[in-house]
């Protein structure tokens, strides 16, 4: 079976994993099926319910990847005897069913019947995307600490995990690294799974070509080890659902004790690994198995023809020191330790200014000194007017007091409020009314709020391939050690034009030479004649 991770095709297909993308960092993985195995009781067959509405799988299957899918009206209330919560809606729903799908209703009574057609809801949608290791890492069910994209992208790059590589992973955990590793080493599905494919086997000519291919080309594979039995089962099931079971071999094993052979711990086959990733609490205990000649006499799990790249993933410095010490003892080279600091960056428009009254997320504060001064002037002006008004009033009051005893403070307090409102109304219209909201403010960026400052220390090392005295002798025989043809190639390789020019020059030179020779010959002939003449003369 083709995996949607590696070869998704153009449309979503039944029985394949699809991701329902709700928002950034939130996607729901689901295997598309018409009928629900759990029999949740939906009339539409299998339905995934999200916070943005319900999505019967009939509306998700056969869609182009990346499509925006509209939620459907699904009766979530009345199934399994749960009390209907919204009676009106349910009644309406039933009425819909009665009018539109009379015959379908009848067929739906039998469990094998086709699911009922879905009716689009008034609101709600999601995006249907194919799974990638990145999206899967984001949405997978956590069983253990997960190796996230910034780490595994760098690890796989430095491990030189490339199409055709064989990689050992110990501590399968939640399987996020497994998925990324499969993508990195994938260069074709093993031919044994071809028979499982729904398409008829290829014709004899192409099958012969496909069988001759594996002889030449090595298929990339991941050998995954995990000592937690339940996790092994989960990982296996996931990989099967994702169509990756032919590319990953999951083994239930304590690798400290029993090493890295696939199958039986002592007589199993070697994965012939080019790259090793150890996400274990004590990687140094596993290293004794990752040598060219294990002390137990068993086969080495490493590829004898290539260098082996290793990475261990440990959160603590003490673990790193023990690992590095053992690596040195076991002749690993190019040992280095790094940590990856990754952070995501928020980009937004920062709106600071007095004109942003009642704008969400904006700060009402002077955006510049000029604005501050202008505003202060306004305020001063107001208070001056207020004081004048008050003075006036006081004078009036005095006048009034002298005449009547009535006290009227109300007009004084409402006095300054009127011009203030006028100013508020005037400010935005002057500066920002013609700029749309999304373009207002200053574009700023900063690190996102939740920051991962430490994931783990990564130790990298390389084990060169073995090199014996016989190998060296064979090479010496083939490549004579002291043979140097040209004294030294100092100048750069010549360009095409220069080569042409040189050839032309050479030809010219040859021509000249020939001409010279001719002339000489002629001269010689002439000269020869002369003495002949001379002799004759003589």
């Amino acid at each position: 079976m083709a995996s949607p991770f590696l070869t998704p095709g153009s449309h979503s297909q039944l029985n394949q994993l699809a991701l329902l993308h709700l928002r950034r960092d939130q996607a729901i993985p689901t295997v598309l099926q018409l009928h629900d195995e759990d029999n949740a009781g939906y009339k539409e067959g299998k339905v995934t319910t999200t916070r943005f509405g319900s999505f019967p799988h009939t509306t998700l299957t056969g869609q182009p990847w990346g499509s925006q899918i509209i939620a459907s009206k699904v009766d979530t209330g009345s199934r399994r005897g749960r009390g209907p919560q919204k009676k009106n809606r349910q009644l309406k729903r039933k009425a819909d069913v009665l009018t539109t799908n009379d015959s379908a209703e009848g067929a739906n009574d039998s469990p094998s019947g086709s699911p009922q057609a879905a009716v689009a809801a008034a609101s709600g949608f999601l995006h249907l995307v194919y799974p990638t290791p990145e999206l899967w890492t984001m949405s997978l069910p956590h069983r253990t600490q997960v190796v996230y994209t910034p780490d595994y992208s760098y690890i796989l790059h430095r491990l030189r995990a490339r199409p055709g590589s064989s990689i050992i992973e110990a501590g399968a955990g939640s399987g996020s690294f497994t998925h990324a590793a499969v993508r990195a080493v994938f260069n074709g599905y093993p031919t044994t799974t071809t028979t499982d494919d729904t398409t008829p086997p290829p014709s004899s000519s192409s099958s012969s070509s496909s069988t001759s291919l594996p002889n030449k080309k090595r298929l990339g594979q991941v050998s995954s080890f995990e000592f937690h039995e339940q996790r092994v089962g989960k990982v296996r099931q996931e990989l099967k659902e994702h169509g990756l079971d032919g590319l990953v071999h999951v083994t239930h094993r304590d690798v400290y004790q029993d090493g890295f052979l696939v199958g039986d711990a002592e007589t199993g086959t070697s994965p012939k690994a080019n790259a090793v990733f150890l996400d274990l609490p004590a990687p140094w205990l596993a290293l004794k198995h990752l040598v060219r000649h294990p002390a137990s006499g068993a086969e080495s799990p490493l590829d004898p023809t290539s260098p082996v790249y290793l990475c261990t993933f440990s959160p603590c410095l003490e673990q790193v020191q023990r690992t590095v010490s053992v690596l040195r003892q076991l002749s690993w080279l190019d040992i280095s330790m790094v940590e990856v600091n990754n952070h995501r960056i928020d980009v937004k428009r920062e709106k600071v200014g007095l004109e942003y009254e009642k704008v969400r997320g904006a700060v009402v504060f002077p955006k510049s000194v000029d604005e501050a001064v202008t505003k202060m002037r306004h305020v001063e002006e107001h208070s001056r007017k207020y004081r004048e008004l008050q003075q006036q009033q006081e004078e009036e009051d005095d006048l009034l007091n002298s005449t009547t005893t009535a006290n009227t403070p109300l007009p004084a307090s409402s006095g300054p409020a009127v011009p203030a409102k006028e100013e508020q109304a005037a400010a935005p219209s002057s500066s920002s009314s013609n700029i749309p909201l999304y373009k207002q403010g200053r574009l700023v960026h900063r690190t996102e709020d939740n920051l991962k400052t430490h994931t783990s220390y990564l130790v990298f090392a390389v084990l060169p391939r073995e090199w014996t005295e016989e190998d060296e002798q064979r090479c010496r025989d083939k490549w004579p050690p002291h043979r140097v043809d040209q004294p030294m190639q100092t100048d750069k390789p010549k360009g095409r034009k220069q080569l042409k020019r040189e050839q032309l020059q050479r030809e010219e030179a040859e021509e000249q030479q020939q001409q010279q020779q001719k002339q000489q010959q002629e001269e010689v002939v002439a000269g020869g004649e002369k003495p002949a003449d001379a002799s004759e003369e003589a």
């Binding site: 950034r24 995006h127 055709g164 994938f186 790193v320 952070h343 428009r349 050690p481």
Partner: protein, 570 residues
């Protein structure tokens, strides 16, 4: 895989000074490593990578040069001994303080070294043992060596080794190593200061991987081939190389895992693997194709391909030469010969402005062709082949349906996105690298939720306007005027940066390196191309109930992804 040094391959030499030198290993020539020595190339051809060699020679005898493999135990000797001592210290920690040497009495000038420069030069001339005697002499004639602490002694020795050891390590030249080399030893600006970690992230977020074997299910594959990637690369070919490495089409020897070295010096036959399935692909009909035409035409692969969009007439992919692909004269046995395609932006946007694309060389019937002189005939074939190649690649690129887009460019990224996003298949990822953050924050802003909402509302307005009035309102151009990019086409736009910090790990002396290269941090933008529905649709998500909580907890990141509390209509 890189298992041993092949003749005529580029390899990297790591020198004692931690510098890297890249050289092509041509049989029967000398390899020249500056002051670290010279030796015949034949002495490393066929040998495995990652081995360290000492250069030994007897002065005056030209043929005496020979290489000695330095074993891992020897390389680690000091650390292993130090670790042994460290264990001893652990047992009696009380003694440590009294016996610990400090730098209290050290003399901070050069008078302690009794060896003069002339003496050192003389030693260098007569030295045979790869510089070891010089270092031993230097240590011997240092008057205050016993006053040094263990750490400073180690540092002193290391410094001298870097200067005098005639030693090197052979390292396979792959994308990771080349990236570091360009960053540290060469002009980093040529590769936009691309770092290794950024390259790894770029490949992952671009979902760049091998397109898969197509040996079964041929028909669906041909109608919809897998693994077609679009790339805009102004790093001199480094990004193309990184992608090709991830797709298994960078190394001409990938796939032959021959243990035997017998055929190492023979010319390797056309690369197996990814290309094999394309071989039976129909040859373009070229009138009276002579026998040499049975090779695969350039840029002809269907799946697992890279299409490079470039700004100038020719793409700058000079760094690919390190992987055996010469841009001027590509060897047809290299996997990139068929699987790497280049199209200029002008060809993409206005193909008829391109003289090669627009002017088909007139076809000449076979009988007339046979009367031509051979040079004229081959010129005709070349012209015709070139025209067909350009036609095919440009039409293919314009048809779109790419599985991923990776960008590392000097141009404004939004101008690139405007023309490339529509060429992507649904759910295809977009990943952009930039050494500076500003170009990418602008892109983020172009996909902001506020802009998306405004775009959708404006479009609805225009559509209604069009329906109401009979005069033709051009919705598309009206929208483009206000919105250079359609913000609804990209899902979950995200901006991030990664930085690797290197540590020194030694017993009792572990700490991050004191200094490293500054310069550009390198930023990655990524998102997913989606196909918005044309129907009228509103967002759900109980805005009334959730609004306050969402607005506070994950305001901007979540909002930029999906409209939750935003009225969203299509």
């Amino acid at each position: 895989m890189h298992s041993y040094v092949r003749p005529n391959q580029f390899v990297a030499f790591k020198l004692p000074s931690d510098q890297t030198r890249i050289q092509k290993i041509v049989p029967n020539t000398q390899v020249f490593l500056g002051k670290y020595g010279t030796f015949p190339a034949n002495q490393i051809i066929g040998r495995p990578f990652y081995l360290t060699f000492d250069i030994h020679e007897t002065p005056g005898e030209p043929d005496s040069t020979h290489l000695r493999i330095v074993s891992a135990a020897e390389l680690h000797a000091e650390h292993l001994i130090a670790e042994g001592e460290g264990d001893g210290d652990d047992q009696e920690p009380s003694d440590e303080a009294s016996t610990m040497r400090t730098n209290r009495d050290t003399i901070d000038d050069r008078s302690t070294q009794k060896l003069t420069i002339e003496e050192i030069e003389a030693l260098k001339k007569e030295s045979t043992g790869a510089g070891k005697e010089i270092i031993a002499k230097l240590l011997e004639s240092h008057s205050a060596i016993d006053q040094k602490t263990a750490f400073s002694l180690a540092k002193y020795k290391l410094r001298k080794e870097r200067k005098y050891m005639k030693r090197f390590t052979i390292i396979p030249l792959d994308v990771s190593y080349l990236t570091n080399y360009m960053l540290q030893d060469k002009e980093a600006a040529r590769t936009l200061e691309m770092r290794d970690e950024a390259l790894g992230l770029l490949g992952c977020w671009g979902n760049v991987h091998h397109g898969g074997s197509t040996s079964f299910d041929m028909e669906t594959v041909l109608s919809n081939p897998n693994g077609r990637y679009l790339v805009v690369d102004d790093t001199g070919g480094l990004v193309v190389a990184a992608m090709a490495e991830r797709m298994g089409i960078l190394y001409p020897h990938d796939g032959d895992f021959d243990n035997e070295q017998q055929d190492a010096h023979q010319k390797v036959p056309a690369t197996a693997g990814a290309q094999a399935e394309h071989e039976e692909e129909a040859q373009p009909t070229e009138g009276g194709a002579p026998s040499r035409r049975n090779r695969r035409p350039q840029m002809s692969a269907q799946g697992n391909t890279i299409t490079l969009l470039h700004a100038n007439k020719q793409p700058n992919i000079s760094l690919l030469k390190y992987f055996g692909y010469e841009a001027d004269d590509p060897s047809d046995s290299h996997p990139l010969y068929t699987n790497f395609k280049s199209v200029s932006f002008m060809q993409l946007l206005d193909p008829n402005a391109d003289s090669i694309y627009a002017q088909e060389p007139t076809e000449i019937p076979a009988e007339e062709l046979s009367t031509f002189k051979s040079s004229k005939r081959s010129a005709y074939h070349r012209k015709r082949g070139r025209w067909m190649r350009v036609r095919r690649t440009v039409d293919e690129a314009r048809a779109g349906g790419f599985d991923g887009l990776v960008i590392a460019t000097l141009m404004d990224p939004s101008s690139v996105l405007k023309y490339t996003i529509p060429l992507l298949a649904g759910s295809a990822p977009v990943a952009i690298y930039s050494p500076n953050i500003e170009p990418l924050t602008e892109v983020m802003d172009l996909y902001s939720t506020a802009r998306k909402t405004a775009f959708i509302n404006r479009r609805r307005e225009l559509v209604e306007q069009k329906a109401a009035s009979d005069d033709s309102v051009d919705v598309k151009s009206e929208l483009e005027e206000e919105f250079p990019l359609d913000p609804t086409l990209l899902l979950a736009p995200t901006l991030e940066t990664s930085r690797v910090r290197v540590w020194q790990v030694l017993p009792g002396r572990s700490h991050p390196l004191m200094s490293s290269r500054g310069g550009a941090d390198g930023f990655i933008f990524h998102g997913i191309k989606v196909v918005p529905t044309q129907e009228h649709i509103e967002a759900a998500g109980n805005p009334s109930r959730k609004k306050r909580k969402i607005a506070r907890s994950d305001e901007t990141p979540a909002d930029s992804g999906e409209g939750v509390d935003v009225e969203m209509t299509v």
